[in-house]
């Protein structure tokens, strides 16, 4: 497949892993403790597990799977609010697929659907607005979640709803912004992260400038990376080169998609529709200042939070959960007390077990850690056997 297979080339991957091993061998620090590189974005986490990338890296490198899965970090109280809106008889509640399974304190949206709520999966907020036009007697609510990646499409849909005077459409806004969260992680006292893979899709919207503080203030390298396996290996190599030479800079590995300045029309739509909230609750990380957005007063009639009364309760994460420590790289997912026992993808307790992009769910499903070193022998034998050619 064009534009995909080129970025999954095995030989190039081998060249890159050799280059990575050479740089690591030259880094003094790596001899005393593993070098921790955090991939901020859940899309990276997914690729890393899907392609077994951890197994290709030398043991001196530890990938820390960061907070960039918007489904995972959605707090229980917000899911409860979503369920409360969805259960109103006049409402058609529309959502992206993977938000349906996120547990609230009583049930998920999938549970609400089973109990009779009209919850529908859509692939774009514009589809939700289409439903609103089709059902003028109902209230169609779109569950707006995600970072700057999905923010513009929700904003543009609200602008379109205003232009087309669609009165029965609103957004339950849970959009969050990644930059304050990276800062919160960097401020935490038990942090050992040596470098970052920056989020490719978010950067496509916001550009690379918002990450400059990571290098200038915290002296950590950050390389904005694409999502194909070669992108990730390439970006890891770039981070390591910075560490080796003592540099801390913002670099852009994903230049084929990410313009340094971001996407101006998208940013304009975002700033005209949303404003920063004082704080927003993150599952696993707690409340983070200025980390979420809400819909501006001007577009209040498209704001489901204003339109419908919600319980709006803050629900603490289950005590046993160690999501925060996993997110910061203090422990690996399988070292959590409830990993695989009380907390499984079927009945997730913690944020990171919820979506396939969550570090714990990925560990559970793709067996990170336990198959870190591939049994090369059988793979080779597979290829050697004539019958398998």
């Amino acid at each position: 497949m064009k534009y995909v297979d080129e970025f999954r080339d095995r030989e190039k991957a081998e060249t890159l892993t050799r280059a990575i091993a050479h740089v690591v061998a030259r880094i003094e620090r790596a001899r005393t403790r593993p070098l921790q590189i955090m991939e901020v974005c859940g899309g990276h986490t997914h690729s890393i597990f899907r392609y077994g990338i951890e197994g290709l890296l030398p043991p001196e490198i530890e990938l820390v799977h960061g907070p960039g899965c918007p489904v995972c970090v959605l707090p229980m109280g917000r899911v409860d609010d979503a369920v409360a809106i969805a259960e109103r008889p006049e409402v058609i509640f529309t959502t992206f697929g993977d938000a349906m399974r996120v547990p609230g304190s009583k049930k998920s949206l999938l549970g609400a659907k089973a109990d009779g709520a009209d919850v529908r999966m859509v692939y774009s907020p514009m589809d939700a607005m289409g439903l609103a036009r089709k059902h003028p007697d109902r209230e169609v609510v779109f569950f707006g979640i995600g970072f700057e990646t999905t923010m513009p499409s929700t904003a543009l849909t609200i602008l379109a709803a205003e232009a087309e005077k669609v009165g029965n459409f609103s957004v339950f806004c849970n959009h969050i912004t990644i930059v304050p969260t990276i800062k919160a992680i960097l401020d935490s006292p038990d942090l050992h992260i040596d470098g970052f893979l920056g989020p490719g899709h978010v950067s496509m919207v916001i550009g690379t400038a918002p990450f400059v503080f990571v290098a200038s203030h915290y002296r950590r390298p950050l390389v904005v990376a694409g999502f194909e396996p070669l992108d990730i290996l390439h970006a890891i190599w770039m981070v390591l080169l910075q560490i080796e030479t003592g540099r801390a800079e913002i670099e852009n590995q994903y230049a084929r998609v990410v313009p340094e300045a971001g996407n101006t029309p998208a940013l304009q739509a975002v700033s005209s529709v949303y404003e920063l909230r004082e704080f927003f609750e993150w599952r696993g990380l707690g409340s983070i200042d200025h980390s979420g957005v809400r819909i501006r007063e001007r577009y209040a009639r498209f704001d489901a939070e204003r339109k419908f009364a919600t319980p709006n309760a803050r629900i603490a994460d289950p005590k046993a959960c160690q999501c925060g420590e996993v997110l910061k790289g203090v422990i690996k997912p399988h070292q959590c007390k409830v990993f695989g026992t009380a907390c499984t993808p079927e009945t997730p307790l913690g944020a990171l077990m919820v979506s396939s992009e969550g570090a714990c769910a990925a560990y559970f499903q793709y067996g990170g850690g336990s198959v870190r070193r591939p049994p090369v022998t059988s793979a080779e034998s597979l290829r050697k056997r004539a019958v398998l050619r």
């Binding site: 993977d98 999938l110 859509v122 396996p229 198959v371 049994p375 793979a379």
Partner: protein, 355 residues
């Protein structure tokens, strides 16, 4: 032959209504007319007069075909009813035929039960019944008995079908999901995920215009050819719901072996790959309706693959992996990048990722 065949032909009723109503399930004339017109007319092949409450099958005739009866049932609730490459009727026949065939059985007879939602068009039911009849003819099985119920609007989604099948397992054929042994070769009979992708695309809410067709097909012919070429075949399983990944996990667990597959060998149509890339789905978990996983001893693997590839339903057959002895129950995949990952059972439904 079934029945005496001497019964004088009776006059079949006709349906005049455009839609199915509760009266069509009420047991009276309306029901008889519906059954006659929609089902009997297309299913009856001449020598069965459906006047009894059951099909009667001479045991001697069955016993001539083998020494064990295979017996299975399956419900079909697919939405939409008609999709590229098939429809619920063809699926209801092929699905049950395949459940018999992967046990090594020669499929013989089917029973079918219809649940119809009040308001469904009679013409739709007719189309489905005709499709069942033609799929049954193609698979050389006969639909010999059935039942029809009508439920109120909303109590089911247009039309559900349950088919039950019997087949005969020839003497000497012995396949079991517990028989996989280290060193055996794992193969599939063609491109994976077509049915799952076709159904998702046909629902129309993805706004993706794909030319993907369901692979819905009866597999007993190709399986018979495989068993001639590789008589020591250990096990077969059709990779329907949950896809190949689920079947591999079932085999690994039942046989207490591990299975290692190679991502680069996983046969996928470019359209299905692209479809999965866009939606964030894993094709290994997509349903198939004309694909099975076969575990064959290494000594017979080459013969098995040639036999599969010689059959029209197996041209793209490929060995995707091997059985190993370590870590019983575990399925791993060598990724195209040279890494390794676990291929686990799916939890819940595959939901598209948001970004």
């Amino acid at each position: 032959m079934i029945g005496r065949g001497e019964v004088p032909a009776r006059k079949l009723g006709r349906v005049h209504a455009r839609t199915v109503t509760l009266a069509h399930g009420g047991g009276g004339k309306a029901m008889k007319d519906l059954i006659d017109d929609v089902f009997v007319r297309v299913f009856d092949e001449g020598d069965i007069a459906p006047l009894e409450d059951q099909a009667r099958i001479p045991l001697a005739e069955l016993a001539a075909g083998g020494d064990r009866l295979a017996f299975t049932t399956d419900g079909f609730v697919v939405d939409p009813l008609f999709f590229p490459g098939g429809d619920i009727g063809k699926l209801a026949v092929c699905g049950t035929v395949n459940d018999l065939a992967v046990g090594g059985a020669v499929p013989r007879y089917l029973a079918c039960a219809f649940i119809l939602e009040e308001g469904v068009l009679v013409e739709v039911v007719q189309r489905v019944a005709r499709s069942m009849a033609s799929a049954a003819r193609a698979a050389a099985v006969r639909i010999v008995t059935g039942d029809t119920k009508v439920v109120q609007r909303g109590a089911c989604d247009k039309l559900f079908i349950t088919t039950t099948g019997v087949g005969i397992i020839p003497r000497g054929v012995d396949l079991s999901v517990t028989y996989a042994r280290p060193g055996d070769v794992v193969m599939v009979n063609g491109l994976l995920g077509d049915h799952g992708a076709a159904i998702l695309a046909a629902r129309g809410d993805l706004a993706l215009d794909t030319p993907i067709e369901s692979d819905c097909a009866a597999l007993h012919g190709i399986i018979a050819a495989l068993l001639v070429a590789a008589p020591r075949t250990r096990c077969l399983r059709d990779a329907t719901r949950g896809g190949v990944a689920t079947v591999l996990n079932e085999i690994a667990e039942a046989s207490a072996v591990s299975i290692e597959i190679d991502d680069a060998r996983t046969p996928l149509r470019t359209e299905v790959r692209g479809f999965c890339e866009i939606l964030g789905l894993d094709p290994l978990y997509l349903a198939n309706e004309g694909k099975f996983v076969a575990v064959v001893p290494e000594a017979e693997a080459e013969a098995a693959l040639s036999a599969l590839r010689a059959h029209p339903l197996g041209r793209d057959s490929v060995a995707i992996g091997v059985i190993r002895g370590d870590e019983p129950g575990r399925v791993t995949m060598h990724t195209v990048m040279g890494g390794v990952r676990i291929v686990d059972m799916l939890v819940g439904e595959q939901l598209p990722r948001i970004c």
